[in-house]
Symmetry: T
Subunit: 153 residues, 12 copies
């Protein structure tokens, strides 16, 4: 079972700036934590980051064959991208939306997520732990989907 | 006379998923229907698709010399892209906005089109036929523009 | 196959006033263009106009037996008539909403159509050509409906 | 280390009705799953349910001495109770808000959480697994709080 | 057949104060009128009042086994309680919402009922007669439900 | 005592279409049920239907001499007609607003009634039974009005 | 010079009811006052009333040949009729909107006039005197229009 | 009988600039037209202009003893001054609000008048004629007030 | 003369937490300050606190016989409880709303008080002094009420 | 210790008009009550009134050297003056906002105070007693400020 | 060439208070910086400040003959004064709006400028440098205006 | 010292189309003006343009090491890009937002800038001069930042 982690714009700068909001861990640190937990759960993970909305849409559209589930931190595109929402909806893989910070405690325009309604659920506010919990949720969803698909003749 | 068809994000997935909303025709099927009608009308069409807002803006900006009119299905960018609106407005070619589904019968955030006010008109809800009707409208607009330009000394 | 064209309030004044917005063609001119295209498509059309919301509701309600589809330009009632919306919804014929002007480029209160969500689709902004494209869409919808009805035992 | 789980109104009916939205697990089933995971994590959990806003406020106010963290599913009070928000804010324990269903995919009035901005984070949409992930997040937050308190002289 | 009448906050004060809005009948007077009509209809009614949102939620949750239908005057909670709405929705008994006064003719914040959308219907503005009409509607709904349940094998 | 029932637009189509929303009873069926109950109550009823807002306004304006009360199902005009509201307000007869379906559980624009604030009360959601309950409420209101008029010297 | 006065719905009831808001003068009384002032100004006036939106639209549409200006009290249609607005706009006669009561001091929904923006101006709040002042304004506007038309070769 | 005309900010610049909106007449020209009509009506008028909100409030507050009615063109303060509204309300003289231009046909923020609800009525859109009609309305209101005061013992 | 002080949810935690917003005084400290001032004013006070909305409604409903006035700090229920508002309105005792903090300088949702419009007035922002000033206002209101009641025969 | 009372527009008319809302006391009466209480508290008060927003801003700006605190009844400027808000904020004296009437029980536009968020607190609804309570609050605030300033070395 | 700088309310207090927002420079300091730059650019500047909206309107109205351009910092009146907007619009001089602070990063009500739409442009956020940049922009605009005026015969 | 100028979508078309709004200068012309002024100020500038939001985010993220400040004309992305806002916020360089046209005088959706609140300030409306003034502001901000950084040990 293979899970794809997608990281949106500016997450390449993680750990270097605005550490009061986002913490000191870099994206590479988080990737290592996720990899460790993935091994414990017996699954494989890929991990990408892009500042380009179109690239993220491309990758979601191409994920269907290769991945059992998606974990996505759309960052700024959470609040502005109907295209990412439509891609998640079109590809129909179990998808978990995650955020490092508690978006409900920040500026008003960050309270609304365009992608959350087409994901299975959302986890936010726990820093890098959000990624680990997101992985566990994705694995559970993927297993349930596999099982329910297996039942159909 | 040459007309450019521009297709926005996720339309590359057409016919594979969410067929209840978008139907079973793929983008290649639609391209064939449009080509057939273009031959009947005696015009030539080019047909592009991109998930990247910037690529679409680039292509509109470069269309001026080469094309007599545009037919655009901006998909998700219909509702979020001021950049595409500004590009259509700047390039000043006759432009027809089209949609496969009836956007007025879907979620609230799909009712508002940022690009429609700078297009000549909008056609939505008729599946692939929206593309054919869009072509006919674009040809009529381009002929009228050519005629009115021809009048000026 | 018989198609009914319904024209809403003030369209009897067409071609006489506000020609900058609506053009110089009169409703009789448009009827002739529609009739010509109807012959080419092998269908018959009826064409009515009324300033009375109640008359339009009556005519839609009575259309079921006699017509295969409706093409409606509700004009000012587009934005205020729940009764016309309910009539279209009740009669359940394939219906195409059309407008001469691009309503999305006009005053704010003209952007919202109460009837569009219960129609199959909407065509606006192409002057009398909107009527011809509307006819073609209506014929296609009526054929598809007939075919799908024919399938049912 | 002791963690308090608080369950809001109507959760006593869980598993009996509206199983399409909330699933078939009863609150007792969920309590067992949480207890099992608590043992694995080496912590103790208490688990209460009440339909009374005032009772929930009382219990949060009294939690400070006895518990290291709170996990709360405020159910309907999520969207209406300023009193629960103020209680969480006053008691200043690390708090995790959880939901069985994806509240962002339901009715509009369920999108806004009054309590989320004063919690550390929110987990929603994963059914009973939301409870387990909430426990893990609460334990991590409580350990971080204990460590940072230990540092102060 | 047994019907439960639930009366929300401040209805214990009925007939003593604000008689211009609510009339001079006390809740005991209304109970007697309802009892008389119940006898005529051959059904039994229970009649409770509470100022506590949680108590009302408890009673709705417990009604399923014992009652064939609910008639509820949620009073002030009509406009603020998502918990009562969720309880009605969860218990899935035929429910009629009633009000003594015409809530649509009072302050703006009384126009929106959170519970009405999950009830079968609403009756308001007829003083104690609203209770009698509510009883008749509830009996009709309960009989229809019993009949349709009886049909299922 | 004579009561006037007024039925708004599209109610002539009742029982033929959209039976999922409005049920299978025709307006003639409903009229028979109302007539039966009127006989039981010892009153007479007239029953009209019109798709024309102006006709309905005329009939309300002319009702004063002939009728003791009005029962009105304004259908689509409920949400758009200030003229009907002003007519009810001007004629000053006891008036009951009724609806077959529960308007509070349907589209947003059907939640607001322009006429309800000038009626005595509203009954909705009980199908044809709404008409019978409306009749009973109207008779009670008319008797109360007659009694209070009788008291004045 | 001939001026048309158009009176909207319920104005036939004037002087009989709600005299606190609209005064005791009947429409016939007002017509006499207007006629007297018309003689003093040396113009002729016609005076119609209809409860039908469609009839008013018809009359405006037919006014162009026969009248030099319009004075309209659209009553309830002031706030809901885009059709009357479009008719005034289409017929392009100088038009004065008048009201007996001060609409800005009444319910919120009466503050917005759909027709005022396409009229030359608005007069409200002076009872029957609003009609006389409206006549004087209409005559002045018609003379100015005639003069400016006379200037054009 | 003495009437006070109050002119708000920037009206001292009248006739010099923005003549497309406000016309070519200066405030002195308008004063002469008003004086002429006042003589015909047998009343006296005073005429002031100020750019200072406080000065206008002072003058209204002091008007009570000396004037029978007010005619006010609050210009920009129409839309922002609660103080002028409160002054008109406190002084309780019959007051007519006038505007040279049709404020309902201009920018959105000019549609709402804070003072209109406490005036007897409003006249707008007729240029200097608005002043003359305002005078006639004020004289009529003052006479009616005098008459009704005379009646009281 | 006896005055009832009612304290809403979480005020039992006063002085222990969030001292930056609410200060260091406990509810017991405040009660002592109020008692001292009550003695100086020659009146008696009772002082209750509850986290339960229903309990507060009960206590207001029962206050009529025993108390001359109410002073209420509804805390979080200020912004959500229509039930407390209705209770104050029903019991018709002179009531003063008080707050320790300046609610107008805090989060947006704390700016609106549902109960203030049915109280005599509101005092906020002065910490425990708000209670003393509230007492003085309540005593003055109660004396005025007693005096005006005494006047009536 | 010296306190400045500032009274906004139209308060010079107090006691003469609209006595139902504002009572019969004149501003001079209130000044006497305030002076009496000031003597009891051992402080001195100045008392000004102006209808001019600019004058009020001038006086606040000049108050810093001479006064220990401000008590302001901004009257109509409460709801419209950002300039007075900024002046209070800039001068940084303890400031109490007062109102004679309960602004939360009046028109909607009177519910929002622009100045309250930069004052220490607000007192409204108690007539002239609001002034006395405002004085007491201001004295307490000024003493606290003096004490806390004295602590700083 | 002569440029007028207009400074709105509370700017006389600059440099004394709220230095975190507005900096330590006084208005006299800024005037010296502007004078220095004016000499370098070969133009003359006048520099006024007033807390009175009416005075600012007076000065703008009188500026036409004497000044080539305006630079205005309307301070608090930016957000509330339609009168200043109308004055700028009426006087038709090139006008630059400036602010010391970045108004887009402050409270919501400071984001909207009523005057900016009638100015040539806006500069904000650079402290005293905003004044210097405003001067340079004003000089450029005035030269362009002079040049374009010179071209006209 | 090196400053980066970033130009958003469609600015490559500058000077060719919509010259009424944006003027006749091309981006190359503007670059030459900026270069000249940069030499005068003794700094170096780089100048990029892209239609791709992702490219702009990439470039801002990479700017930290190489540039002392940013000047950005985000064009259409001003109003839609949270990603660019977050990039500016993350990179923490002094940033100046500029626009050729006065965005406050254009369509409503252009009034709100998502990036302005995280920039130091905004300059708009002066055509190419906006770029020069933006450069001067950026240099001043960079010098101040360098100076303040130098102070820290």
């Amino acid at each position: 079972m293979r899970i794809l982690f997608i990281n949106g714009p500016n997450l390449n700068l993680l750990g270097q700036r605005e550490t009061a909001v986002y913490g000191r861990a870099t994206l590479a640190d988080i990737r290592r934590r996720v990899a460790r937990r993935a091994r414990a759960l017996g699954v494989q993970v890929d991990f990408i980051q892009s500042n380009h909305e179109g690239v993220i849409v491309d990758r979601i559209g191409a994920a269907r064959k290769r991945y059992a589930a998606l974990v996505i931190n759309p960052a700024a595109y959470t609040h502005t991208s109907v295209a990412i929402r439509d891609a998640i909806s079109a590809v129909a893989l179990p998808t978990v939306e995650i955020h490092l910070s508690n978006i409900h405690a920040r500026e008003d325009f960050r309270h609304r997520s365009l992608s959350a309604p087409v994901c299975a659920g959302q986890i936010c506010g726990f820093g890098p732990l959000s990624y680990e919990l997101g992985l566990e949720a994705a694995v559970a969803l993927a297993k349930a989907a596999a099982k329910s698909a297996g039942k159909r003749p």
